[in-house]
């Protein structure tokens, strides 16, 4: 099944504040693409544009899925989710006063995902044992790491084809970050997902990424065709590795 996300030349702004300028990236079937950049450089805005939460002022966002092209700039967030795109939002955005299981079941709200609920729920519980143990607990009462697992599991409940993960490492301890990133990789292989991940933790992101983009002040400043490519780049060295002259 062919899937391809193509973002070409988008600008986006919050009022007078420009957040994205001429951003073009693509994500192809089965890839894990990292969107690298420190805070406030437009990673989340780009994710929100894909989900229809923020509307770009110019440019195109096209999703080719099952041989049909969809113009995501014209669809509502709900319609984009219905196409099989799921996002693990920054800050997790769980429903704190619903139980773990209720959060997961809401993840399967889109009608196409409902026939697979039993299968997906079993898979989530198998992958995240702690969620099974705490299925009746309120989501808001769990630790940050557990909440992150729930947020990822909830996104998977919609049987997505394309998974967007916004800053999975925020607020987690180094060990948990490492575990979460490994988990995303495993889930990706298991579900045959295509993943676009925004992350500022360069070392963790490149563990699972096939390739990546570096975004600075709302512009893509470097496109790395491979992890080696990214590591060799001066800008990356400058921003992340501290090894540039």
């Amino acid at each position: 099944m062919a899937l391809e996300l193509t973002i070409s030349g988008i600008d986006a702004a919050y009022g007078a504040v420009r957040a994205l300028q001429g951003v073009s990236i693509s994500v192809k079937d089965g890839e894990t693409v990292a969107l690298l950049g420190t805070n406030g450089n437009g990673k989340s805005t780009l994710m929100k544009c894909v989900m229809g939460i923020v509307r770009p002022s110019t440019g195109k966002i096209e999703l080719k899925i099952e041989n049909k092209n969809h113009d995501l700039t014209r669809l509502s967030t709900e319609e984009i989710v219905s196409l099989g795109v799921a996002m693990v939002p920054e800050g997790r955005r769980l429903f704190p006063k619903l139980t773990v299981e209720e959060n997961l079941l809401l993840g399967a709200f889109r009608p196409q995902a409902r026939p697979d609920i039993a299968k997906n729920l079993a898979l989530c519980y198998e992958t995240f044992d702690v969620l099974k143990q705490r299925r009746g607990q309120l989501a808001g009462s769990m630790s940050g790491g557990q909440q992150q697992m729930l947020a990822i599991a909830r996104a998977l409940m919609s049987s997505p084809k394309l998974l967007l993960v916004d800053e999975p490492s925020v607020g987690l301890s180094p060990l948990l970050v490492s575990n979460t990133i490994t988990m995303i990789k495993q889930l990706k292989e298991r579900h045959g997902l295509t993943v676009l991940m925004a992350e500022q933790n360069f070392h963790q992101a490149i563990r699972i990424a096939d390739r990546g983009y570096l975004i600075v002040h709302g512009e893509i400043v470097f496109e790395g065709e491979s992890v080696a490519d990214l590591e060799a780049n001066d800008l990356v060295k400058n921003y992340y590795l501290g090894t540039a002259g």
């Binding site: 989900m51 939460i53 509502s76 967030t77 709900e78 989710v81 219905s82 799921a86 996002m87 939002p89 955005r93 769980l94 429903f95 704190p96 006063k97 619903l98 209720e102 079941l105 809401l106 993840g107 709200f109 889109r110 409902r114 309120l138 909830r154 919609s158």
Partner: protein
């Protein structure tokens, strides 16, 4: 935001039951028959509210409440114009008779109202926990943006929730007029009681609401018989103040 026209819809349910009862329909059956009508009416009211206030972002602060106060006044005045200010009541086999348990005599109308209210509350609790839409209704109050990411349209969910809330006013209104005579101004009593029950029970807790309703009912009866009828309206506000001071999350608030 509190829907302050809810008690007015409740009284409207009572009057609608009264009208149907005039054609010989059993009041309970009338309440049930009116539920779908009220449901559609609720959808319409929310849609109107959404297009005129919420959708334009002018529902902030007191303006949204002002809208529903306005709706409540229109309902109230409408009822007065059509039915007058006098009390109205209905008749049925279970009104005016009672069951004896040893020393106690319990009016059947009270038992009927209690049983139906319990059944309605249980049905709603099941709906909110077992169905996709029910869970989405609870979620929409917590995070609309996140609900969108689940593929649900928050406006549709809220409209549906409003429809259900209004539909319950039909049956609850029938119970109200079964329990005692109703006049167009009785909704004022219920605004205080509604706030009291919701706050005491804890926002969003169905079981809490049920228990809080029982507590308020018993407290009002005790005060009514010991201190006199003049003190009855003070009970709800008294409990409300104490709960807000001592345990703002309510009995079952989490």
């Amino acid at each position: 935001m509190p829907q302050v026209a809810h008690p007015a819809f409740l009284v409207m349910g009572a009057y609608a039951t009264y009208v149907l009862a005039g054609y010989g329909v059993d009041p309970l059956l009338a309440g049930l028959l009116l539920m779908p009508v009220f449901f559609v009416f609720g959808l319409g009211v929310y849609q109107f509210y959404y297009s005129t206030f919420e959708g334009r972002g002018s529902d902030q602060g007191l303006r949204g409440i002002a809208f529903f106060f306005g709706v409540a006044f229109i309902v109230q005045v409408g009822l007065i114009l059509v039915f007058g200010v006098d009390q109205q009541l209905v008749d049925a086999s279970y009104i005016g008779t009672s069951v004896e348990f040893g020393e106690m005599r319990i009016p059947k109308r009270m038992l009927v109202a209690f049983g139906v209210a319990l059944a309605l509350t249980s049905a709603l609790a099941l709906y909110f926990s077992r169905t996709f839409t029910g869970r989405a209704i609870r979620a929409v109050a917590q995070d609309e943006g996140a609900l969108r990411l689940m593929g649900a349209d928050p406006v549709r969910i809220k409209r549906w929730a409003f429809g259900i809330a209004t539909a319950t006013c039909a049956l609850a209104g029938a119970l109200l007029i079964i329990v005692g005579p109703v006049d167009p101004n009785v909704d004022r009593l219920y605004i205080g009681r509604t706030f009291c029950v919701v706050v005491l029970g804890g926002l969003g807790s169905m079981s809490g609401t049920l228990v809080a309703g029982l507590i308020l009912g018993i407290a009002e009866s005790v005060v009514l018989t010991t201190a006199g009828t003049a003190w009855a309206p003070a009970v709800a506000f008294g409990i409300l103040l104490v709960v807000l001071g001592v345990r703002p999350a309510g009995l079952f608030g989490r």
